[in-house]
């Protein structure tokens, strides 16, 4: 894999966010927030009864894109903001672009702008990720 500043990271898509997965995640996280499993609550707060996906899982989709691209141990740092929620039934796609490459302790690290968008184009995750890449993969 050759990596250059300006490269696009191959996208990763979750075709359909499901309430079943949200309930599993709520149990694992011991997250009592009802917006992940109670449609009456989300109806009352203006989401038309659609459940809100857990933010760490939204970030997980972005991480899946990074590890599919650069390997399972590649993520060194990620700083993430969540401008909008992801709702059950959404199709979301992670994307990214390499903004800089520098060597940290002998390892080449790509600083990437990454995101997660709904299929209507609205942005739900906006992040900066630092990703270790194979030395022989860097050009320029």
């Amino acid at each position: 894999m050759k990596v250059e500043v300006g490269d696009s990271i191959p996208s990763w898509t979750m075709d359909r966010v499901t309430p079943e997965r949200m309930k599993t995640v709520a149990a694992i996280l011991r997250d009592p927030t009802p917006i992940h499993w109670d449609r009456d609550v989300t109806r009352a707060i203006g989401f038309d009864g659609r459940l809100l996906n857990q933010s760490p899982i939204n970030l997980g989709y972005v991480i899946n894109m990074l590890i599919t691209w650069a390997g399972p141990e590649c993520v060194r740092r990620i700083r993430t903001e969540f401008p909008l929620p992801v709702l059950d039934g959404d199709c979301v796609t992670a994307g990214g672009v390499v903004k800089a490459i520098e060597t940290q302790e002998g390892v080449d690290v790509a600083e990437c702008e990454v995101w997660l968008d709904r299929d209507d184009g609205t942005r739900t995750v906006q992040a900066r990720a630092w990703v270790a890449i194979a030395k022989e993969g860097v050009t320029g």
């Binding site: 694992i28 996280l29 927030t33 997980g60 989709y61 991480i63 899946n64 599919t68 700083r79």
Partner: protein
């Protein structure tokens, strides 16, 4: 709320079980990673639960009631060594910052920053996580 700055959690240990890694990886839409690697998304709940607190307690400390929405401003995760299932990690950390924002015509927002260190069995830092949550003070 300012009194909470400097609050230290009790600290503790956490071992990621295989079932947990399997289910959480599946919830993000991928198979578990090879070589017992845990999906990096574990860096949300492992620090919170392992340091001796919980999402519910964090809400209680901030005096959140059911009518007050909670939103995430950011996560900032640094991974020094990949996290693995079956290994026991030691967690330490606390509340490091607080800010109240008040604006006429808008709900008051209290924001807290939590910082937690994740150390491996040799005591070396495996990861550091920081996250800031906004607590919206809505009149119920």
């Amino acid at each position: 709320m300012q009194r909470l700055v400097g609050h230290r959690f009790s600290g503790g240990q956490y071992k990621i079980e295989h079932w947990e890694n399997f289910l959480l990886s599946e919830a993000t839409g991928i198979e578990p990673l090879p070589d017992s690697l845990a999906h990096p998304v574990h860096l949300f709940h492992v620090p919170i639960n392992g340091v001796g607190t919980s999402i519910a307690e964090l809400f209680a400390l901030a005096e959140v009631d059911r009518a007050s929405p909670v939103s995430i401003d950011y996560y900032d995760w640094s991974i020094h060594t990949p996290i693995r299932e079956g290994e026991t990690y030691s967690l330490s950390g606390g509340i490091t910052a607080y800010e109240r924002k008040e604006k006429a015509g808008s709900p008051t927002v209290d924001s807290f920053i939590y910082e937690i260190d994740v150390a491996g069995k040799d005591g070396e830092l495996a990861a550091q996580v920081a996250f800031r949550w906004h607590y919206w003070r809505v009149e119920s």
